[in-house]
């Protein structure tokens, strides 16, 4: 089923013409209104009308996380502040988050893309969608929410956690579709099994949209078997609206990325050189319809590849493979983006602890931060150490938006390697 059959099956040359037209208009827009891009173009001696074909995209500079940081809070804004309808933020490395602005048109467009994704998997206005992603500054929950409302489904804005309540809602309101992280999906499946609930008999779940964390085909299989439903992979990032950037169709073989809204490039993560379709590299996206904050050649740091062959569903928008890793040290835990530098910065502000730490990721979503005591941080009192441990956990929670377990260890006991310290040990099986 198609939400927008015409666009979704638009023949490649027409799609590429549309891309070029939108790219030119986006470039003109940022060249006219965004000082950051004006400076970038000037530094390269680029005239805005220098983009005459899609290959000219390669002449434009990349936009990186550092650029978002340097232009914080609104240096990339291309509209008046009063035309901004919504602000979302995404984790940054240096204490300030990344600021993402959306106009009314942007919000509606994001919902449109989400609607395409939902209809593509067979969701209709008869469905009940329980949104188990975190509402708030994150785009994850809200963008799905608006998309589901657009197609007329009944949306339950449950948010994550509180599994008893989630189960109650599913039982009493006949939830058919869930939007959830892979770690919580597995946890929840286990939870209901312990309650003696058989999802196939006792619940009406048909589909799960799983995203926000990378996970394997094997994990997809586990979730499908445990909850008796079909799992569809979802890809998105706040910088590109959030979820709805790319999604699996009923074929469940790669995620269609909406090429009338984004230009896809795969590049070598170290050199930035474009790679041919099929090769694995860093995904770079250029927005074509974003009004408040367009982004040119944004380095997502996500590692993936394009599936060159056409999909049996008939959609002409190409598919992405599963994300296999990151080109930076960002972690995703419980659906939340975390940079080890954020942990470091919190610890630096506490004289009782040293700078040495280790992040352990285990099980489904357990996060433990081991922290070395500073030389002067011990006064012989167990209670003080317990308070310190708890204080660190709370401060970390305030910074990274999820609460890890904290373990204090003696100074000099954490491994120190030559060169760059290994700060993360990730043994999760997702």
């Amino acid at each position: 089923m198609f939400w927008n059959h015409g666009i979704e099956t638009l023949e490649r040359s027409a799609l590429e013409s549309l891309q070029l037209q939108r790219l030119k208009s986006t470039v003109a827009r940022v060249a006219g209104r965004v000082p950051f891009y004006q400076r970038q173009f000037a530094a390269l001696g680029l005239e805005p009308n220098a983009v005459r074909s899609l290959t000219d995209l390669g002449r434009l500079p990349f936009t990186t996380n550092e650029d978002l940081r340097a232009t914080y809070p609104d240096g990339l804004l291309a509209v008046e502040r009063s035309d901004v309808l919504r602000l979302h933020t995404s984790s940054g490395t240096t204490g300030k988050p990344k600021a993402l602005f959306f106009s009314a048109k942007d919000i509606d467009n994001a919902a449109e893309l989400m609607a395409r994704c939902l209809v593509m998997t067979g969701v209709t206005r008869e469905d009940v969608l329980q949104n188990m992603m975190t509402y708030g500054l994150f785009t994850g929950a809200l963008m799905m929410h608006y998309g589901a409302e657009k197609i007329g489904a009944m949306v339950i804005p449950a948010g994550p956690g509180n599994s008893d309540k989630q189960l109650l809602l599913m039982q009493d309101f006949g939830t058919t579709v869930i939007h959830v992280t892979p770690s919580y999906a597995l946890y929840f499946a286990d939870f209901i099994e312990k309650r003696g609930v058989d999802p196939r008999k006792d619940l009406k779940l048909r589909k799960a949209f799983i995203g926000a964390e990378p996970y394997t085909e094997e994990t997809r299989g586990k979730i499908e078997a445990a909850l008796g439903l079909d799992v569809y992979n979802s890809y998105g990032l706040s910088e590109m609206n959030g979820p709805g950037v790319a999604f699996e169709c009923e074929c469940k073989a790669g995620m269609h990325l909406w090429e009338d809204n984004y230009i896809i490039e795969i590049v070598n993560p170290r050199t930035g050189e474009p790679l041919p379709d099929g090769q694995t590299g860093e995904l770079v996206l250029t927005t074509l319809c974003r009004e408040a904050m367009p982004l040119l050649r944004y380095r997502t740091r996500d590692i993936t590849s394009i599936i060159p062959s056409p999909c049996p569903c008939g959609r002409t928008h190409r598919r992405l493979n599963r994300i296999t890793g990151r080109a930076d040290d960002m972690l995703i835990v419980r659906g939340v983006n975390i940079y080890p530098q954020q942990v470091e910065r919190v610890l630096m502000g506490l004289p009782a602890v040293g700078r040495n730490y280790l992040i352990l990721l285990q099980g489904l979503d357990e996060m433990t931060v081991k922290v070395e005591l500073a030389e002067g941080g011990f006064d012989g009192q167990v209670e003080h150490l317990v308070h310190l441990q708890s204080d660190i956990a709370n401060r970390l929670r305030a910074e990274i938006l999820t609460k890890p377990k904290v373990e204090l260890v003696a100074p000099g006991t954490l491994p120190v390697s030559e060169g760059k310290a290994k700060r993360v040990i990730d043994t999760r099986a997702l």
Binding site: F378, D379, Q389, L408, A410, G412
Partner: protein
């Protein structure tokens, strides 16, 4: 009168940690009068009353341990029924809040070690109450 100090050592809550600490003390020929371990999830604090606390601190520090010295008061307690009660009552009556405490007996003499927030104030109050406070040397000789 020399203050009574305990040597506190931070240790991760796993087997062998106590032995690592006691090995250092044994090699330095340090005599332990009393020891206690307080643990919480993940780590603990081992506290010793030794005959040469400055040497103990130095040697443990040299060997890479996380150490701290904590000053405590050592109160002489009559070694008979009611002996501890008399001391406890005195502390309560004088509003002295005890943070940590431990007691032991040897050769018909009993000692109560107490840790308080304001040690000078507690020392002054207890001296007026005719309780005998022991010095480091006296405690070791008990």
């Amino acid at each position: 009168m020399s203050a009574v100090k305990l040597v506190s050592v931070f240790a991760e809550n796993k087997p062998g940690q106590l032995a690592k600490t006691t090995q250092v003390l044994a090699r330095a020929d340090i005599n332990i009068r009393w020891v206690t371990i307080a643990t919480t999830e993940g780590f603990g604090v081992i506290r010793f009353l030794v005959d040469q606390c400055d040497l103990a601190w130095q040697r443990l520090k040299q060997e890479g341990f996380t150490v701290s010295l904590t000053e405590v008061l050592a109160i002489e307690v009559a070694d008979r029924p009611g002996g501890l009660h008399a001391v406890a009552e005195c502390l309560g009556r004088n509003q002295i809040n005890v943070e940590n405490s431990s007691g032991f007996v040897s050769h018909n003499q009993a000692v109560l070690l107490i840790e308080v927030l304001n040690i000078d104030q507690a020392r002054a109050i207890l001296s007026e109450q005719h309780l005998r406070l022991l010095s480091q040397e006296e405690v070791m000789a008990v």
